[in-house]
């Protein structure tokens, strides 16, 4: 046997600078540096099991301070496009994948994932045994890590020095600096109407674009910074207040919790993810950190009132302690581990869910919750007759 003549030499993606990822508890993973190549990047290591939607995940502000490892093999296949951004820029600290696609293929693609990451200065690691990594995080919990082209020793030191998210206020780093207004764009087919003139104020703790889009099917939306006080909010005469998702430890956000406590009972409230935890805190509940959180698009959540199971998109490391909230009832539970996924106040027009009904990425099974928010606003008008909220009834 003789070797065949070799084909034309093309530059192959296999040739990237070698790099390592080291966790604070000392595990080492080999890979190749990609995206914005840096000697050392640090953050809290989490894994996400969604098989599509990497762009939405990477641009989700809730990942601020975290390094996202995707368990799905091929990442970057369909590239990126402006429409799928969940924020103007990624806030995550890094991206770890098993196999990064160099040239994307999809009619919607305008830029490859790697150029996208480079443009936004997001360091990445490819060629990693991400399954081993997920198994490690499953056992060790979400751990700080460091990765890059630096030596293993340097990375060890960086990982040891890196902080987790406990007690950290990461919201201030991602929230809007001033209020922005997003006009009503008509409801999505369910023709309830009455959106004209309805006003929703949305707290931005790291809000996702898709949430704002869905809210604008309910009314005109004013997105306000996390630091906005209750009085400032009420001055906008909202028919409802929305509490967005966001990064980090809810216990580290006394300000927002106090503001929400003031709003409870005076205006209908709907919270998602961090917003759910803040509402819980405002109502006297407590939160705790999960071992490695829920990050994926396949979690079964049961809606207790009907028994129906929703396949949900999830991204949280903290959760609300079951039964810790006075005068509230649990409305949704996670069938995998029993974690509280939603509750409503028995005293005030306020409810929230831990998971992501807006999906993006993920299944649309829970989008009905935005309709539920509309219904709540209709049932609890905040303004005298003649105003929009009342007209809508």
């Amino acid at each position: 046997m003789t070797a065949k003549p070799k084909g034309p030499e093309r530059t192959a993606p296999e040739h990237r600078p070698a790099a390592l990822l080291v966790t604070a508890d000392g595990a080492v993973f080999a890979g190749e540096a990609a995206g914005a190549v840096v000697p050392v990047a640090t953050g809290e290591l989490v894994f996400n099991t969604a098989m599509s939607g990497y762009q939405e995940v990477i641009t989700d502000p809730s990942y601020a301070g975290q390094v996202i490892a995707f368990t799905s093999t091929h990442i970057g296949n369909y590239g990126t496009n402006a429409a799928d951004d969940e924020a103007t820029a990624p806030h995550c600290r890094g991206v770890v994948v098993c196999d990064l696609t160099d040239v994307p293929s999809n009619w919607r693609a305008t830029e490859g994932l790697e150029p996208f990451l480079r443009r936004h200065g997001v360091p990445a690691l490819t060629g990693v045994d991400t399954r081993r990594l997920a198994r490690h995080v499953r056992a060790a919990g979400a751990v700080p890590c460091a990765f890059g082209t630096a030596s293993e020793r340097e990375l060890r030191e960086a990982a040891a020095a890196a902080t987790g998210t406990d007690g950290m206020d990461l919201v201030s780093g991602v929230t809007a600096t001033e209020a922005t207004v997003h006009p009503y764009r008509g409801d999505d087919g369910d023709n309830v109407g009455g959106g004209e003139g309805r006003r929703v104020v949305a707290y931005d703790f790291g809000v996702k674009t898709t949430m704002v889009q869905l809210l604008t099917t309910l009314g005109t939306v004013t997105v306000v910074p996390a630091g906005t006080t209750a009085d400032e909010v009420l001055a906008l005469e909202p028919d409802g207040v929305f509490l967005s998702n966001g990064p980090g430890d809810p216990a580290a956000l006394p300000g927002p919790a106090a503001a929400v406590a003031d709003l409870v009972g005076r205006v209908p409230i709907f919270g998602i993810c961090l917003g759910h935890q803040i509402l819980a805190t405002a109502l006297g509940g407590t939160t705790y950190k999960l071992p490695f959180g829920h990050h994926g698009a396949n979690h079964p959540v049961q809606r207790l009132e009907s028994g129906v199971v929703e396949i949900t998109s999830q991204n949280h490391n903290y959760a609300v302690a079951a039964g810790s909230i006075p005068d509230a009832e649990t409305t949704h539970v996670n069938l995998n581990d029993g974690v509280v996924e939603g509750f409503r106040s028995l005293k005030a027009p306020a409810f929230s869910v831990q998971y992501h009904p807006e999906a993006a990425p993920g299944p649309h099974d829970a989008r009905y919750l935005f309709g539920a928010f509309r219904a709540l606003m209709l049932d609890h008008p905040t303004r005298a007759a003649g105003s929009a909220g009342a007209r809508a009834r």
Binding site: K4, G7, A12, E56, D99, A134, R135, P300, I311, N336
Partner: protein, 1101 residues
């Protein structure tokens, strides 16, 4: 909602014989269903005509009917068993159609049988393309522009409106049968006519062709509370226009943004709800325009399918099992996920690897068939491979095919493409064929750019670029001075086998392996766990890859490794998987931990709970070595490896195993039986007569042997299964032609002719009766003759293609005794420990041995069903050291099973099922090259009745009145007379070709119709016309004289085309006449296996 307590007895319908488009995936789903329903405490009644299935093991159901899947028969079963419910969604299209018939006949209503899983209305909406289209448009889903036609005129009119290219598809069909794409009016007319004929309701869909769009499938489940989940998304590598069953497919989908994927998911659920599938699994197919993302829905199957078997194996989510639970009332969230144990089944599996399925075709066995893939499915089997990357899984899949390929080229076989000039290569790319993926890589290697390839094939650029990675890497590997650890790791992560590296580096696989291990690059085994490691997995379902962590758990227990049989192919199918599964079941009972290695996603053996450990891996030396290393490292004792139950596949691997690890008959003995010289010597020594013959490696040698033994002679390569490339030749030219073909082409690739693999040249025994004998011998030398099967067709028709009866019907006792005596002495002198199959030909009372196979044979399951002796289980126990005496004590064998197994009160007939209806242009004449895809069994109190049932089960319903058309070879005429008499005695009128008619008239028979052969002029009417006009109900056509046997092909072709039963041997005709006579004397009777063999120990339910 928990289990339904208002149901007690549930009837499950299987899918019948293995045919193209409906293979053993339905044994897998049916077996899971039976298990689940039994666990739930229901009384399960099963109907399936296929004896080579696990689901028809007596232990799998309370009542098992191996009877024809025919409304009449099913009615009799329902009448007898009075089921409360019928579960039709796990037996493929066959069970669905049968259920629809029973509903329409009012049978279900009459006996108050509730259809669970899918209501008849839902089935109708999904299966009738007309209703389906309307329903989908009703909920705002887009479908390709189309219209329905019941006549040629109607069809043409619609076609003109839509414009070409046009796709034609009959309603209520399977595997794309009768469908195709027409570029112009002429081709359209032909397709439309065919389609109208193929559709049981003679209705066709005339549809705008969207060939070239991306094709996707979603496997979805729904429960009674309307909870819906997607189990798996599958993307076709080959675009629309190539049937999914013939496409390379990949899971999960790779090229959809989440926005597109979620929209598709919403559509799939909307479709399920609209069609009204209340519970169970369904398969929804979509096409996506790569340029605009425009999405149309192609079809949905309201049942488990081939794809859901694939999805189950790909994700670890057992669709059929869960579908069965849903059908009896459970909700998804009430069913636990076996693998994680902690979480419920109401979730969507997520996977952290890539799965690739590659089909396997059998064109080489069907001369005359056009080698071109299209919208009708033609593959006979498939392999699945799991890798961390697409490249790895694709290359693993390609080497799993067992077609002499080590991966995506980079092997000796690639040479065939090197001669092809690039322009021709580009031409070929436009035509989908089994070789296209190899041609693709060859083109890319020559520097043809991606866009060019995409333009010609319609394959998504993402996939094409992955192939570029492989060919770039190949170039690097070939060029590198030496390979370091990084090189090996990169190569392995792209799926290169050691054999490919050896080829590129001009060295041997063994050296590559040693070098690679020296660099610390070894296989690691990961786990298929449904959740990408988010939760701990409890089922050891593994695949090999090259990563940093190995997940194989240690074990202290004694383990037996069972090697499976790889992809289904003609000659090696489900029978061998059946044997492997039985080995696993019985050895688990005996306290061993069983380890299964196989790569066929359709099978029961690759169900993660069939064995204690499952390695979903290619069956090659390298991959087996990896498994062995892992198992030896896992601790405990590896008792050995079973290589004799999976057909030729594991046998070919035996050589690479440490001989002390091979269980059962020694590889030496197996070789002895295959090695002509030594085999002849043995037969001579035992004075067992053989047909005179010899071996040859060159044409002159072959001619010499032929001269010595006299024509006709039979030529064939050694070491192949299913009579591959076996030919009967009548003169020197024939010999030259065959020798030529064996030293070139596909066959040469399979090993071809070498000094160690000579061509066998034997005197062909004409008009001899063929007999199969299956026996088992234990370590103490005790032998049990389990079954003696007399073939219906004469020797010369491959044993796998001929019908056979157990017990023998015409053989004299002393002949049977001689057959048994020969079998015993062969078993002893081969030192058999386990199974032995011997094939004999009996001519004028003289017994000749044709071959002996000291391994599981195709007939093992049939013998087990006919006699009640679980032959494969018995053999497996014997292989690990138990004796037949032990097994009698234990009760696995009946106490009286000594010496031979006697069957007195009933006759079982096995009939083969042939794929000719899918391959127009292929001669249906049976010969020594096996071409059947599956088998059925008929059981009754007389041979005639059993034969008639076997025909009915095989889909050729014998007529009870009308005209029989005879066209006989001269030498058949005397015997034909008797048959003709029998038919006219039964009240049939006769038609015959001139010669035959003359003879019959001379003997005083009335021949109503004279038929002309092609070319003959005169009063006589034309044979084909006669058949086309339905003026003939049965055709008996035996090939003429000693010349080339193709004569009369047009008659046989017409019979196939117009679905008129056609018998090509007098023996079969005789049997048919007997069957019809008996059928008139006895009313239809159905019998459960449990009644035939009251004491039989089946597989544990």
């Amino acid at each position: 909602m928990p289990r339904r307590d208002d149901l007690h007895t549930i009837l499950v319908i299987g899918s019948g014989p293995i045919v193209i488009g409906q293979a053993c995936e339905f044994d897998y789903s049916g077996t899971q269903a039976c298990r689940v329903l039994a666990e739930e405490g229901y009384r399960v009644v099963l109907a399936n005509s296929n004896p080579a299935t696990i689901m028809t093991d007596p232990g799998m159901a309370d009542r098992t009917y191996v009877e024809p899947l025919d409304p009449k028969v099913l009615t009799a079963i329902i009448e007898k068993e009075r089921p409360d419910a019928l579960l039709p969604t796990l037996g493929g299209q066959t069970a669905l159609n049968l259920t629809m018939e029973l509903a329409e006949l009012g049978v279900l209503e009459r006996y108050g049988v509730e259809v669970i899983g899918a209501r008849p209305e839902a089935i109708a909406t999904a299966e009738d393309r007309d209703q389906f289209k309307a329903a989908m448009e009703g909920i705002g889903l887009e479908v390709p522009r189309s219209g329905f036609a019941h006549s040629l005129e109607e069809a043409t009119q619609i076609a003109e409106e839509i414009g070409y290219p046009i796709m034609v598809r009959p309603s209520f069909i399977l595997g794309g049968k009768g469908t195709g794409i027409a570029e112009d009016a002429a081709h359209f007319g032909q397709l439309a006519a065919e389609g109208l004929a193929a559709s049981p309701v003679s209705q066709i869909l005339v549809e705008q062709s969207i060939a070239g769009w991306k094709e996707f499938e979603l496997e979805v489940m729904r429960d009674a509370a309307d909870n819906c989940v997607v189990v798996c998304s599958i993307e076709n590598f080959d675009p629309m226009g190539v049937h999914t069953g013939d496409s390379i497919t990949v899971a999960p989908a790779q090229t959809l943004t989440d926005v597109e994927y979620q929209a598709m998911r919403d559509d799939a659920f909307a479709c399920l709800r609209k069609v009204g599938v209340e519970t169970g699994g369904s398969n929804v197919q979509f096409a996506v325009d790569p340029a605009t993302g425009r999405r149309v829905i192609i079809e949905m199957n309201p049942r488990v399918s081939r794809s859901s078997a694939l999805a189950s194996k790909a994700t670890g989510f057992p669709i059929a099992k869960i579908a069965a639970r849903l059908a009896v009332g459970y909700l998804l969230n009430e069913i636990p996920n076996d693998i994680t144990q902690a979480t419920p089944a109401s979730f969507e599996p997520t996977i952290d690897y890539v799965v690739t399925k590659v089909p396997r075709w059998a064109f080489e066995k069907l001369p005359g068939a056009e080698v071109r893939l299209g919208t009708r499915m033609q593959s006979v089997g498939e392999v699945m491979a799991i890798g961390r990357t697409f490249c790895e899984s694709l290359q693993k899949a390609l080497r799993s095919l067992e077609q002499g390929r080590a991966g995506l080229n980079a092997d000796p076989a690639e040479g065939a493409l090197d001669e092809v000039p690039t322009p021709d290569l580009l031409e070929r790319l436009a035509v989908p064929t089994p070789d296209r993926v190899f041609e693709l890589e060859a083109a890319l290697r020559r520097g043809v750019d991606v866009d060019e390839v995409v333009a010609r094939t319609g394959i998504d650029p993402w996939f094409v670029r992955q192939l570029v990675r492989i060919s770039d890497e190949r170039a690097r590997l070939a060029a590198a001075a030496t390979l370091d650890g990084a090189d090996f790791r990169r190569a392995k992560r792209l799926g290169f086998s050691d054999a490919q590296l050896a080829y590129l580096r001009a060295t041997t696989p063994a050296d590559v392996r040693a070098d690679r291990l020296a660099h610390g690059v070894r296989a690691t085994f990961k786990t298929v766990d449904t959740c990408a490691a988010e939760f701990a997995a409890f089922t050891p379902y593994h695949y090999a890859t090259y990563e940093e962590e190995d997940e194989v758990r240690p074990s202290e227990r004694a383990r037996v490794i069972i090697l499976g049989s790889g992809p289904n192919r003609i000659g090696q199918g489900i029978e061998f998987d059946y044997c492997c599964v039985h080995a696993s079941m019985t050895l688990r009972d005996a306290g061993y931990e069983t380890v299964m290695v196989n790569c066929n996603p359709e099978t029961v053996s690759t169900d993660y709970d069939t064995s204690d450990r499952l390695y979903f891996e290619p069956l090659t030396d390298e991959d087996l070595a990896n498994v062995l290393d892992a198992e030896l490292a896992a601790g405990g004792e590896v008792v050995g490896v079973i290589v004799s139950l999976g057909g030729q596949t594991p046998l070919k691997l035996a050589g690479s195993l440490p001989s002390e690890l091979v269980l059962g008959t020694s590889p030496g003995s197996i070789d002895l039986a295959e090695d002509r010289e030594r085999w002849n010597a043995l037969c001579a020594e035992l004075s067992i007569p053989q047909p005179p013959g010899g071996t040859a490696t060159t044409t002159p040698e072959a001619l010499a042997v032929a001269g010595r033994v006299g024509y006709p002679v039979l030529l064939r390569p050694s070491y192949v299964l299913g009579g591959r490339a076996m030919e009967i030749v009548y003169d020197d030219d024939g010999v030259r032609r065959v020798m030529q073909s064996m030293t070139t082409g596909a066959l040469a690739r399979e090993g071809g002719v070498t000094a160690t693999r000579p061509v066998l040249v034997d005197r062909f025994l004409e008009d001899a009766t063929e007999v199969d004998v299956d026996a088992v011998r234990d370590g103490d030398g005790e032998i049990l003759i389990a079954g003696v099967m007399e073939h219906v067709e004469e020797a010369g028709v491959h044993s796998g293609d001929s019908a056979c009866a157990l017990p023998p019907q015409t053989l004299a006792d002393e002949v049977v005794e001689m057959l048994e005596r020969h079998t015993r002495s062969l078993a002893d002198s081969l030192g058999v420990r386990g199974l032995l199959n011997v094939q004999f030909a009996v001519k004028e009372g003289q017994v000749y041995v044709l071959e002996a196979n000291p391994r599981a044979s195709r007939t093992v399951p049939f013998v087990a069903k006919a006699t009640g002796v679980p032959l494969a289980m018995v053999a497996s126990r014997v292989m690990v050291g138990q004796t037949l005496a032990d097994l009698r004590k234990e009760g696995l064998l009946a106490a009286d099973a000594v010496g031979r197994v006697r069957v007195l009160d009933h006759v079982s007939v096995k009939e083969a099922v042939l794929p000719f209806d899918r391959f127009p242009g292929v001669d249906t004449l049976l010969g020594p090259e096996m071409r059947s895809t599956g088998e059925v069994m008929g059981v009754d109190i007389t041979f005639g009745l059993a034969f008639a049932k076997s025909q009915m089960a095989a889909g050729t319903r014998l007529p009870d009145a009308g005209t029989v058309f005879l066209s006989l070879a001269d030498r058949d005429k005397p015997a034909g007379l008797e048959v003709a008499r029998a038919f006219s005695a039964l009240g049939f009128s006769l038609a015959a070709t001139l010669g035959t008619a003359g003879y019959l008239r001379a003997q005083g028979l009335t021949v109503g119709t004279l038929v002309a052969k092609v070319g003959e002029e005169g009063v006589a009417s034309d044979a084909v016309e006669l058949i086309a006009q339905g003026r003939v109900q049965l055709v008996v056509n035996t090939p003429r004289g000693l010349g080339p046997r193709a004569d009369g092909q047009h008659i046989r072709a017409a019979a196939v085309a117009y679905k008129v039963p056609c018998l090509t041997t007098l023996a079969a005709a005789r049997a048919a006449a007997a069957g019809m006579a008996d059928a008139r004397a006895h009313p239809l009777q159905v019998r459960a296996l449990q009644d035939l063999h009251p004491l039989a120990k089946g597989a544990p339910g």
